[in-house]
């Protein structure tokens, strides 16, 4: 076969891919590239006739901005509490428990958890706003138990929104782990049990290592999803009070659209992307190590 024919054939093979590539370039790479460009300008939403190139000024500004650092800290708290500790562990626990449960219990639990997941973010936000507010369900329950009630959205806003995210997002982890646990061949667990491994030891030495890859994948997807949560927090607290639940996406929105500093907001978005990739790197590392 000569070079020309080979070239033609490889071109022919690439052809079916081209629509996908074009779409990706147009709607994914394009906007991201444009974003990266804007992050180095002082573009504003209003109040300015022409934007100019400002180099690294936006990034320098971010690291000198107390509110930005506050948002980074809150984003980390929100991600660790709601994604790593909350959704991930709770999802795994639910999946493990459901394996042993009877069919009706399994269907019911699965149904409830998945309903929370299917609800649009804003609707879930309003539900949990109603749950946590002063006249809300949580305080009504606490009153019944003669425990002190308080306005949770005001006193512990970051924990309230973290809980909301756990409530909404656990279903995803549960589904991932249910699938992973079902993949474990029964003989392996049986063999381990014959060897005398029971309960926690069986779990720690057999089950967890077998689903290690799923844990990594799940952690990565959960974290990336949680980092970008906006609607839920916006509806429940708008980042308040006093910026005490203002995570990076809310901070970014405020800078770009309320203070109309699109350039600065975009730079913050890029930094959020960096935070996301740092988390991903850690998880990829975890995935690679052999047991």
């Amino acid at each position: 076969m000569n070079g020309g024919a080979r070239r033609l054939r490889s071109l022919g093979r690439a052809l079916p891919l081209s629509p996908a590539v074009v779409l990706l370039l147009l709607f994914l790479a394009g906007p991201i590239g444009y974003c990266a460009f804007i992050a180095f300008t002082d573009l504003q939403l209003t109040g300015q006739a022409h934007a100019s190139f400002v180099g690294l000024a936006n990034f320098r500004r971010a690291f000198g901005d107390e509110e930005f650092l506050n948002a980074v800290w809150l984003t980390l708290v929100f991600t660790v509490v709601s994604s790593l500790l909350g959704q991930n562990t709770l999802g795994l626990a639910l999946a493990a428990l459901m394996r042993r449960a009877s069919k009706p219990v399994r269907t019911l639990t699965g149904g409830v958890v998945i309903t929370a997941w299917v609800l649009p973010e804003v609707v879930a936000g309003f539900l949990l706003y109603a749950f946590f507010r002063r006249e809300g369900t949580l305080n009504a329950l606490l009153d019944q138990l003669h425990l002190p009630s308080q306005n949770w959205l005001f006193t512990l806003p970051i924990l309230a929104v973290s809980f909301a995210n756990v409530w909404r997002g656990t279903a995803f982890s549960m589904l991932v782990y249910s699938a992973a646990l079902n993949e474990i061949p029964g003989e392996i667990e049986e063999a381990a049990e014959v060897d005398g491994a029971r309960g926690r030891r069986l779990w720690w030495h057999i089950t967890l290592p077998m689903i290690r890859r799923s844990i990594g994948t799940n952690l990565m997807l959960n974290t990336l999803q949680t980092l970008s949560v906006f609607g839920l927090i916006w509806v429940m607290t708008r980042g308040g009070p006093g910026g005490r639940s203002q995570t990076l996406p809310l901070f970014m929105y405020e800078q770009a659209f309320q203070n109309s500093m699109i350039g600065y907001g975009t730079a913050v978005a890029l930094l959020l992307l960096v935070v996301g990739s740092l988390f991903s790197l850690v998880y990829l590392r975890l995935l690679r190590t052999e047991v």
Binding site: T46, G240, G242
Partner: protein, 459 residues
């Protein structure tokens, strides 16, 4: 391997060609605008039971379509709180694909949008429109930019003052005809209510970022413009074209806000910082007799008219009105702020001529009168202001029209929105108790420098 690069090139060009084609196709798709249709964007109330604007525009649309046969009006409501409405609008104005033919602009942002080149100067149209001469001179400047050209037709203005609940005042032993002379008088009345009528909120003062511009204008500036000698602008120094930092008036106004929330004279802090606080005050606290004094705008009764959702015709006997006093009662003794909205034509509008025809229909004498009465607006047309039907339409109109004499306009320059956010942050700090007045004020000074590119003067 010499094959690779040459093989890649035709593939790349093919891809590029496709990309360009796709780009061109999508760009064409959106811009198909009908030359006989005028697209009108306006702000729809976030309160589902309030339809004042919708009803008024639907009525004018019918008149317009009858007057100009073959032409159509496409009403595009944007249902959002104020701050999100501006954002949405600015995004629409950026591109010819999304720019409507007519927009409803707050005077608060109009200079900013003019600087961005989003709006079209209307002088050519206004010169040929006889009714323009009927507009009150100060109102004509509402949308006049620094370049001397006019970019919007105002559809009314507003003023602000103190609304008080006469029944709660009677219970507290306060006078039915209340005329506070100083800030201390206002606070004392609130303290009396707190002591004598437990369970009600003595005084509402909007605060913090969730309330947005309402916190800045209805509260903070109503206080700030009552400090000092009452003549110089306490926010912006027009002579040097610089913003004022470190003023005593600023700290005094913050102290007032701090006092309200520290002494628990206001709504509980969590409610005060609820993003829906304005709806809570108008729809719940005032009509249900749960709030004694409210520092608020002239437009409140629009929510209480028959058919407006929270119909409350008794408001005029139940509520009293008092002018907001200056800090120590110094001349001129009272203070008010004014703003208002204008109809403006985007620079990227497809049918600007038709849009202007729609403005003249909206602001015909009969329609203007109808609108002021429906939305509790303050007239900017001299002929309507003198019209007995307007003056008598609603209790309170005479009171608020009278305040126009001692009113102030905001320095609505491009930096203003960020200055306003900085004010709200300072207010929020003292409201939650996170910041002392001194700390909040110095935080404002820093934010001000940043927002204005260091165009700041200390006074």
């Amino acid at each position: 391997m010499p094959v690779r690069p040459t093989a890649a090139r035709p593939r790349l060009t093919a891809l590029l060609a496709l990309a360009v084609a796709a780009g061109a196709l999508t760009a064409c798709g959106g811009s198909g605008s009908d030359p006989d249709t005028v697209k009108v964007s306006f702000k729809q109330s976030t309160d589902n039971s309030v339809h004042v604007m919708d009803a008024y525009l639907a009525d004018v649309k019918r008149q317009f379509e009858k007057k100009y046969p073959g032409k159509k009006v496409d009403l595009v409501p944007i249902k959002a709180p104020d701050s999100e409405y501006y954002t949405k609008l600015q995004q629409m104005l950026r591109s010819p694909k999304t720019a409507p033919d007519l927009v409803y602009e707050d005077t608060f942002l109009i200079n900013s949008d003019i600087t961005s080149g989003y709006l079209k100067p209307l002088d050519g149209y206004l010169a040929k429109w006889p009714d323009w001469r009927k507009f009150i001179p100060t109102a004509k400047t509402a949308a006049r930019a620094e370049d001397g050209r006019t970019y919007g037709v105002p559809d009314g203005t507003d003023t602000r003052g103190l609304w008080y609940d006469k029944a709660l005042f009677a219970k507290a032993g306060l006078p039915a005809e209340w005329h506070p002379k100083t800030w201390e008088d206002v606070l004392d009345a609130a303290r009396t209510v707190k002591e004598k009528v437990p369970g009600v909120t003595p005084l509402n003062v909007y605060t913090g970022k969730p309330a947005g511009e309402a916190a800045t204008m209805q509260s903070f500036e109503m206080l700030l413009y009552g400090t000092g000698d009452g003549r110089a602008d306490p926010l912006y120094d027009t002579a040097s074209k610089k913003w004022i930092a470190g003023s005593q008036g600023f700290k005094d106004a913050l102290t007032f806000v701090e006092t309200v929330y520290r002494e628990k004279l206001g709504p509980d802090v969590a409610t005060a910082l609820d993003p829906n606080i304005q709806t809570i005050v108008r729809g719940d606290l005032l009509p249900k007799g749960k709030l004694a004094i409210d520092l608020d705008g002239s437009w409140l009764p629009q929510d209480w008219q028959a058919g407006a959702g929270h119909a409350w015709p008794q408001w005029s006997t139940r509520l009293g009105l008092a002018a907001m006093p200056t800090q120590r009662g110094q001349a001129p003794g009272r203070v008010s702020m004014s703003g208002g909205w204008t109809w403006a034509i985007p620079a990227k509008a497809h049918n600007p001529d038709l849009a202007f025809d729609f403005i003249t229909t909206l602001q015909s004498r009969a329609n203007a009168r109808k609108w002021y009465i429906a939305n509790s607006g303050i007239a900017v047309r001299e002929d309507v202001a003198a019209d007995p039907a307007y003056v008598k339409a609603q209790p309170g109109i005479a009171f608020f029209t009278d305040l126009v004499a001692s009113t102030h306009y905001r320095p609505a320059y491009p930096a203003y929105p960020r200055v306003s956010t900085a004010i709200q942050e300072a207010m929020e700090g003292v409201t939650t108790g996170d910041l002392s007045v001194a700390k909040a004020a110095s935080g404002y000074d820093d934010a001000l420098k940043d927002a204005t590119g260091n165009q700041v003067v200390r006074r």
